[in-house]
């Protein structure tokens, strides 16, 4: 070990000179450069690394007056009933739950032309189980369509009425997808945490900030890093790590400008948001007409949301990939979720079928301080 380290010391890179210690950096190498390479104004840049990213839920007990949707046991019992098993037989099968679920072939419970079909790839080959949707009136998000309709929410932070977040209704009564404010929804949390030791981190960077309390015009972008987060002693991402930016052009467009009012940033013009996810949680996060809202918290962390319209079939695909495993272990009724998504979808009707292809949604960011290294050739942030 000692020998190795001395080898490393010999391989040390050419000395890298960095700027001052404070997070609120004004050093030339980090601020967006104007065309001639000189630092832009006295404005500050600040970066964060995303600790958690999940549905922006605001689940309350009153959201599900008829109770939550059945869990895996309930789902299984229902399937067995539909197949005509007697209560005694069902009870016997439940003794060996959940293994009996795998054996029962729930992954072939659909029916097409009288033959068994995969219900995940062909959700409409099963009957709509009529999943309960969340009935609440409070929910995070933005008023995307400019209207205040019956299905809309009031945002608990901004107080905005007409908030469109139909996706929240879809997950609102599904036990492992819903969550109270401040809590993490079980299933998305697992998916996010499981992958992140090897998945590039997400970064949020603010620029042109004169005041983090009130500022008329600042920029923000959400980008991907080249490195994964690093875990601290509690298994959570370590703050104040430095990241390099992934130049992948697909994720260079999550850019917006907006205002900071009393420590809260809200974006001005809607934009298209795109971040690559991972297969089993959500393959990609692609929101049309997206908006941001971020709060600069006293503890130095950043929380906030991004909202917009998401193609609901994309979301469904990730769940469908999980198949029987998700149904058994995460209490999903996968074809049921298909029907729910389809029902709740509220934008961009398909020209032929007239059915909405997009669903309004909002996602939650929880981020910690970080540094971003900008290669010399980096161009200024898009205006």
């Amino acid at each position: 070990m000692k020998v190795l380290n001395s080898v490393f010391s010999k391989l040390a890179a050419t000395p890298v000179r960095y700027g001052a210690r404070t997070i609120l950096l004004a050093a030339a190498s980090f601020v967006a450069l104007s065309a001639d390479g000189s630092p832009a104004s006295a404005a500050e840049t600040r970066a964060y690394a995303v600790k958690w990213f999940h549905y922006a839920n605001y689940s309350q007990d009153s959201d599900c007056p008829d109770g939550l949707n059945p869990n895996a046991e309930g789902l299984f019992k229902r399937i067995l009933e539909e197949r005509g098993h007697t209560p005694a037989e069902i009870e016997k099968k439940m003794e060996d739950f959940p293994y009996s679920m795998y054996e029962a072939g729930i992954g072939q419970r659909g029916e097409i032309d009288g033959k068994p079909a995969n219900p995940y790839l062909n959700p409409t080959s099963t009957k709509d189980p009529m999943l309960k949707l969340g009935q609440g009136k409070t929910g995070y998000g933005f008023n995307l369509d400019g209207k205040v309709s019956e299905n809309d929410f009031v945002d608990p932070e901004s107080g905005e009425a007409g908030v469109d977040n139909q996706f929240f209704r879809v997950v609102g009564c599904v036990s492992q997808l819903r969550s109270a404010p401040g809590e993490l929804p079980t299933f998305p949390e697992i998916q996010w945490d499981m992958m992140r030791d090897h998945t590039p981190a997400w970064l949020i960077e603010f620029s042109d900030v004169d005041s983090f309390e009130n500022d008329d015009d600042v920029g923000v972008r959400v980008i991907r890093a080249k490195q994964p987060i690093r875990r601290n002693a509690n298994g959570l991402p370590q703050s104040d790590m430095t990241y390099a930016v992934d130049p992948d052009p697909r994720m260079a467009n999550n850019v917006a400008r907006g205002k900071i009012v009393n420590g809260v940033f809200t974006s001005d013009t809607p934009f298209d948001f795109f971040m690559v996810g991972e297969a089993f949680g959500q393959a990609e996060y692609a929101l049309r007409e997206a908006r941001y809202r971020f709060s600069f918290n006293e503890d130095g962390n950043l929380t906030g949301i991004v909202g917009g319209y998401h193609k609901w079939r994309t979301i469904y695909t990730s769940w469908a990939l999980g198949g029987a495993t998700f149904e058994i272990n995460a209490s999903f009724d996968i074809p049921g979720l298909y029907y729910a998504l389809r029902k709740a979808a509220d934008a961009y009707p398909d020209p032929e079928t007239g059915e909405n292809d997009y669903i309004s949604a909002a996602y939650w960011f929880d981020a910690i301080p970080a540094f971003i290294e900008h290669p010399a050739a980096q161009t200024a942030l898009a205006e």
Binding site: K2, S9, V16, Y18, R230, N232, Q238, A244, F371
Partner: protein, 559 residues
């Protein structure tokens, strides 16, 4: 870089001297040796091998592909050095049990069928029977390297015979040989460094270390390991009994990449880095302080020291003011500076220079110092100040008195926003102030660094006041404190004393202290406080090899 002179019998007894690898700039062959009057010297010291020394010797002799199972008895610190504690340590039953296990495990690897060609140059006539010729060859070669001197005929005979007996029990030559090897590794001649003295023919009436003892002392001092074949040869042919011969070997060793190992070992001991093994910080309050972070913190300081003192031939005092260091991305996060390693390697080291206004004061503000001398859940100016005094200045801080009753001046609301306020009683109460004023002011200067090494300018919202004074010299912050240490004669004197204690394994005698305080210190200063030169000055002095029996030894010699 570390060249192992492995045990294969084809290597000539006087092995290859040239060591491959990158070498640093040559240490100048300044040949005016340091004067040391004839009363300067001290008794021999029998020291137990430290864990690092044990490991280094095994790697030297058997290479790095053998694994060492088993655990080492903890080393004990005496007079601030583990090296001195080793001079008083013995081996408990539990400790020997572990040594014995390690020895047998090592031996098993050596004689294993797939490995033996690499380590054993001869073969028995019949692999199920004893073969004393082959056993002799192997055991004498290994024995010499392990015992740091050739085995006596009696010793060799005993081990060869024992191996033969063992062989007969199991009808397996290699098994028996392995047990013989294990026996060597469990012997006191291996586990303890014996220093043998003999009359000095050049100075009638005086005693000196014998040649092999000189070789050991030199080798453990400069390289923290047993003498290599070249040094053993120099012992055998009498070279080490000549000034020129000693100079030649010392220069060879100082110019070797292995000097880094020796310097690391010294500073690891002096700076008490062994305490990292059991250092824990509260994960809830300081989540950044993982085991990886602790390792990096320790390595950062050692790298800085090696770079400054060896690679750059720098001034020791600058260790308390330098802003140059090495960081990993993890350390960057702890110090809250942006840092990305080249090619994004997550744990690579990058050389780094802190800014003027980063509040750094050389190794004093490294995470290794501030984290080691703190509590798990908060910093401690008292512990840091005490460490500064004891570790870096060789000064004594008295123990707290027994029966201290705090009720008289207790602040029922023990929640002053900064630790300076909370420690007010330390500095105002007469019973406390006497000692605490020796420690707290320096520790308070380091309060910009929390218990995990992270930088902060406020505590509980209140700006941290880092001003103070050290023995009359004022400072405004940690950098100022670093400068005060830089200028303090106590700091450089302390290093000289520590190095000598480390080199000899004991406290200096009165005569030695006098000599260190004058001749050696003057030479150190004249050399610009260059540490390799200091090592050389000591290693080429007569005092280093002169044996002056202690009074106790003289008394017992009269039995």
């Amino acid at each position: 870089m570390k060249k192992s002179f492995e045990l294969k019998g084809t290597l000539a007894a006087v092995a290859v001297v040239a060591l491959a690898g990158c070498s640093q700039s040559e240490v100048a062959v300044v040949s005016t040796g340091i004067e040391s009057p004839s009363e300067v010297g001290g008794p021999v010291v029998m020291s137990r091998l430290t864990e690092d020394q044990y490991r280094n010797i095994i790697e030297d002799v058997f290479g790095s592909s053998v694994t060492l199972g088993g655990r080492f008895e903890p080393d004990n610190r005496v007079d601030h050095l583990i090296r001195v504690g080793a001079g008083q340590a013995s081996v408990t039953a539990a400790g020997l049990e572990q040594y014995d296990k390690m020895a047998r495990s090592l031996a098993d690897q050596i004689v294993a069928e797939e490995n033996r060609a690499q380590y054993i140059a001869c073969a028995p006539a019949d692999a199920t029977k004893p073969d004393s010729a082959c056993a002799s060859q192997v055991l004498s070669r290994v024995g010499e390297l392990l015992f740091r001197r050739p085995l006596t005929d009696t010793e060799l005979n005993e081990f060869v015979t024992a191996s033969a007996t063992a062989t007969q029990r199991v009808d397996d030559f290699y098994h028996g040989l392995g047990l013989g090897l294990a026996g060597l590794l469990s012997s006191p001649q291996f586990l303890f460094r014996h220093e043998i003295s003999e009359p000095d023919p050049n100075n009638p009436g005086q005693m000196r270390l014998d040649a092999y003892s000189k070789a050991s002392r030199l080798s453990f001092f400069l390289w923290n390991t047993a003498p290599d074949p070249a040094l053993l040869a120099a012992a055998e042919n009498g070279e080490l009994h000549t000034q020129a011969g000693v100079q030649r070997q010392v220069n060879r060793m100082l110019n070797s990449p292995l000097l880094e190992e020796g310097v690391r070992a010294f500073f690891t001991d002096m700076l008490e880095f062994d305490r990292f093994d059991t250092l824990a910080k509260d994960a809830t309050i300081y989540p950044k302080f993982t085991f990886a972070a602790a390792d990096d913190a320790r390595e950062q300081t050692l790298k800085t020291i090696v770079d400054h003192l060896i690679d750059k031939n720098g001034d020791y005092r600058d260790l308390f003011t330098t802003r140059d260091t090495f960081l990993t991305p993890l350390l960057g996060s702890m110090y809250r500076v942006p840092l990305l390693a080249p090619d994004g390697l997550p744990d690579a080291w990058v050389s780094y220079e802190f800014d003027q206004d980063d509040g750094q004061a050389g190794i004093l503000t490294h995470a290794s110092f501030v984290a080691l001398h703190s509590h798990p859940g908060r910093s401690s100016p008292t512990l840091r100040g005490k460490a500064l005094r004891e570790v870096l200045m060789c000064q004594i801080v008295p123990d707290p008195p027994g029966d201290v009753d705090f009720t008289d001046f207790e602040d029922p609301d023990h929640s002053g926003p900064t630790v300076r306020i909370r420690l007010t009683a330390h500095s105002t109460e007469p019973m406390c102030a006497g000692c605490h004023k020796i420690t707290d002011p320096m520790g308070l200067a380091l309060e910009n660094f929390d218990t995990a090494g992270g930088y902060r300018t406020t505590e509980n919202g209140v700006p941290i006041d880092t001003s103070g004074e050290l023995d009359g010299a004022k400072f405004a912050d940690a950098s100022g404190l670093g400068q005060v240490l830089h200028d303090s004669p106590a700091v450089t004197n302390c290093l000289v004393n520590r190095v000598y204690a480390y080199a000899t394994g004991r406290k200096a005698t009165k005569a030695e202290e006098e000599w260190l305080r004058s001749s050696v210190k003057d030479r150190f200063a004249a050399d610009g406080y260059n540490v390799p030169q200091l090592l050389k000055a000591i290693a080429t002095s007569e005092a280093f090899y002169r044996v002056v029996p202690s009074e106790a030894a003289m008394a017992s010699a009269q039995h």
